[in-house]
Symmetry: C2
Subunit: 248 residues, 2 copies
Amino acid sequence: MHSSFHPDHNPLIRKIESVFTLTEDERQALETLPMQVQVIKDRQDIVREGDRPSRSCLLLSGFACTYKLTAGGKRQIVSFNIPGDIPDLQSLHLKVLDNSVATNSSCSVGFITHEALRDICTRHPRIAAAFWRETLIDAAIFREWVTNVGRRDGMSRMAHVLCELMVRLRAVGLVEDHACDLPITQGEFADALGFTTVHVNRVLQQMRAEGLIETNGTRLKVPDWNRLKEAGEFDPTYLHLENGQAAA
Amino acid sequence: MHSSFHPDHNPLIRKIESVFTLTEDERQALETLPMQVQVIKDRQDIVREGDRPSRSCLLLSGFACTYKLTAGGKRQIVSFNIPGDIPDLQSLHLKVLDNSVATNSSCSVGFITHEALRDICTRHPRIAAAFWRETLIDAAIFREWVTNVGRRDGMSRMAHVLCELMVRLRAVGLVEDHACDLPITQGEFADALGFTTVHVNRVLQQMRAEGLIETNGTRLKVPDWNRLKEAGEFDPTYLHLENGQAAA
DNA sequence: CGAAATCTTGAGTATAATCAAAAACGGTGG
DNA sequence: CCACCGTTTTTGATTATACTCAAGATTTCG
């Protein structure tokens, strides 16, 4: 079951390399990081609020989301996770998980023990810094989401998450021709935006009518990136992408 | 201008010590951490979105808030900062600030250069971990705020932030007799909750009418903690306080 | 004491929620 | 290949929460 995911296909290594060039030692350490790979069906919890995990999960393929439940049973998705993300990396320093992570689509997930993570962090300070940085970008995304949910209306709120997803997916090579696969239901968007499913549906219809997006099943196409960006008041600075990966 | 803030009054050291016991070396390093202390008037920006700071600020006394502005000019406060917080610690690893920090009240702020922070992190891995942990708790607070703004109605949303503030203030010794000083205007609460000032005013009136809170100027008193907690669906787990500081 | 900021009140409106049901879609098995 | 089932999307009618605009009261602070 233990496997060292082929480096060229390990989206984590690619991500770190977009920030700085790894030394041979560092690369070696990352490539041999012990990882238990597992395929998880869609709509399954990977970890749950209240868990005290002893490992973190690297999303290798598929879509997942980080969410919380209110006492009243309402769900709020606080971010979408895409390949290369480690949605519960915070559990390395925070004992109890304060959120759950669930798959949207079928996912391939690599579980890495905290022991292994601590070990690589001790031996390779720059990798530790890269992990820390990843969690800081997560926080930046949460900040932007508070703003999105708190201060934007239907259309811009929806447009904004779509922009964020497009930019992040492009950075990991999952956008082609201004189009990408988004296996996210309208109900899930509703939970991410603080809306109801019905309202998401009506907003999407309006966006299609105005030519901001085109959809075909789970396929999303953006005919005019600048218009969508404007509609969502989208500025990718908060994603802290290097190498101009944020460019249209 | 350089000053090593008296350790007993340095809320950062107290905060770290609530998680683990510092060695003599570590304590020494923290106490001598070079820090430029400055008093800043109320309603002033400490740092601004777009800045590329070479230092971070430790809030020594007073209230501040982290906020973002939308393209439309609306403001969203994404968290309140209280003594012991380092609101822009993320700038240690993220070049460009994606948010601003402003004072609510007059504040005493200690500026610490990134150089000094990097140095102490290299020499004292446990302090590095403690800093990382602080930023992870910030992220947990942002997650909770997304949920609060996205999925709670007027009363519970307001009650929730008040609960959070009370618990965090109690942890740094700023709550006495179920009461504390909150130099935060209704307009600022509005920006934190995604409401208008008018609506905040009406919600607060209802909360006073129901006996959930008592206010007197900037003084907030909570007559029945359990009722407020229930009204806000408040569970302090996400604050990751140790030593039962979250207890009523 | 006076000006500015903050808080409060009222009336009318709008955005999004709720409830309910129908249509379309996706996958499964016969 | 088609019928069937569960899920997701769509539509319609009604309601509610929170916004807008505007003005008056109160507090704060110089």
